[in-house]
Symmetry: C2
Subunit: 276 residues, 2 copies
């Protein structure tokens, strides 16, 4: 669905796009006790930007954040097939199933499989949904990325962006859907970019498809971009390609690990534009 290796104006030297990066497993630091791993003092910042398909009051994308029972946070993003009310019901069902299981301590991969089985059982394979889970797991001291989505994810360090685009099927397609799981240590400078296929399809109507890889590369060249700036830039780039009338729901999640310089206060902010 996306060819991250293609660039419009020749190779971009700062970008290291690999289409089929194998899951970047590192040695797990999970212990059998509930004692947490030693993590360097960092702050994880997560930003979300989300817009509905043009002239649609319901978004087929659902995103929720949930606290993990053994420490940390998970962001769960699902995109139900088609758009509007039916798609919303499907993506809400998937996200609800997943966050319910995560809150009980179920591991991310098992939660994704359970949601797929539940969707397949209910809809008999007729309705599918993509799923991405971004977890900051303080028990294992790692970031765990779970993907059932043909759209790729990006893992960036410094000015290098790795495109994780290993084949991945959405939930509900068959009885044995497996997620692609990527796990990495929580370390300062790490940036994760996850999005739904609305971003991939942006601009196709006009024959100018979005090149997420290129946009992310140019964002990384800027001076220490905040995750909200990155999410907003990616979304506004996609919207411009659709003449500010998005052809599909678009959701972008950017997670960034920075050195811990401030206080120990956890913060969350939500901005919800309503009416029009």
């Amino acid at each position: 669905m996306l060819s991250p290796l293609r660039t419009k104006d020749g190779p971009t030297p700062v970008l290291n796009c690999r289409c089929e990066v194998e899951a970047l497993y590192r040695q797990r630091r999970v212990t059998s006790s509930l004692k947490r791993c030693t993590i360097p003092p960092v702050e994880v910042r997560i930003a979300v930007a989300k817009v509905n398909k043009y002239a649609s009051s319901e978004s087929g994308d659902t995103l929720e954040a949930v606290e993990r029972p053994n420490g940390g946070v998970s962001v769960v993003l699902a995109d139900g097939q088609t758009s509007g009310r039916g798609a919303k019901a499907v993506s809400m069902m998937v996200v609800r199933k997943v966050i319910g299981l995560l809150a009980e301590g179920v591991r991310d991969g098992a939660a994704a499989r359970a949601a797929s089985d539940a969707l397949f059982t209910e809809k008999k394979g007729q309705v599918i949904s993509t799923l991405n889970i971004c977890s900051v797991d303080l028990h294992s001291g790692t970031i765990v990325l779970t993907r059932n989505n043909p759209a790729p994810m990006f893992v960036c360090r410094g000015d290098k962006a790795d495109c994780l685009a290993a084949e991945s099927t959405p939930l509900g397609t068959s009885r044995d859907v497996r997620p692609v799981i990527t796990e990495m240590e929580i370390e300062p400078g790490l940036i994760i970019v996850v999005y739904t296929d609305g971003l991939v399809h942006a601009g196709r109507r006009r024959g100018q498809p979005m090149d997420a890889c290129e946009v992310i590369g140019s964002l990384l060249e800027e001076q220490d971009p905040s995750p909200q700036e990155m999410a907003d830039s990616l979304l506004s780039h996609a919207m411009k390609l659709d003449d500010n009338r998005p052809a599909d729901d678009i959701s972008v999640v950017v997670l960034k690990v920075v050195h811990h310089a401030g206080d120990d206060v956890r913060r969350m902010s939500i901005r919800l534009p309503i009416g029009s």
Copy 2:
């Protein structure tokens, strides 16, 4: 537990604190169809600041935000009895129960009662938990505040702050716990402040108890404070009174309705400091 009428340096003329404000019910605009009410173009901004009790890795406070199935968002905040791991398990159970029900379309008051009954049944009245739900309900076009918490809430318009301190019992105390429900229209300029009792108890150790009413009043005198600035200021004020070693978990939620001036993008950001 708190005397909002008391001020240290005499009456503050800009503040209109009423101790026993009756629930500010206005005529409901709920229709029986799923068609949404007409809401003026506004943006709802919600900010959260949350800190653990000093030297405690687990917070007894749990806060989650959930999308409402008929449009809007709910922020659910619970504070389990005592602090540490046991309190965390209780507040997580309560929040999980409530957001599960809200996501199914259950109304806020019924969700609070259900969570109370579940807690009472499981713990036989031995363990209690406070609960606050702040909902932006796009179906009814209102903000619905549900409170099972002796700590008051504040509803501010312009430079006036009403202290809602009607008697309210925590969940799990008996079989027929009723929440105090306050509903108001979504209108620009409205500010809601909700917090757990950690804020109320701040400074008691040193004999200088926090006067939330006074701090909120002085914040409202500032030029258009953002909800995050308000939440941060309230929390940092409380922490200073405890010599930056909070005697209890403290969570502050500030909701502000502003005129809709920007794009239609929904945004969320999370900041999670970890390690130390």
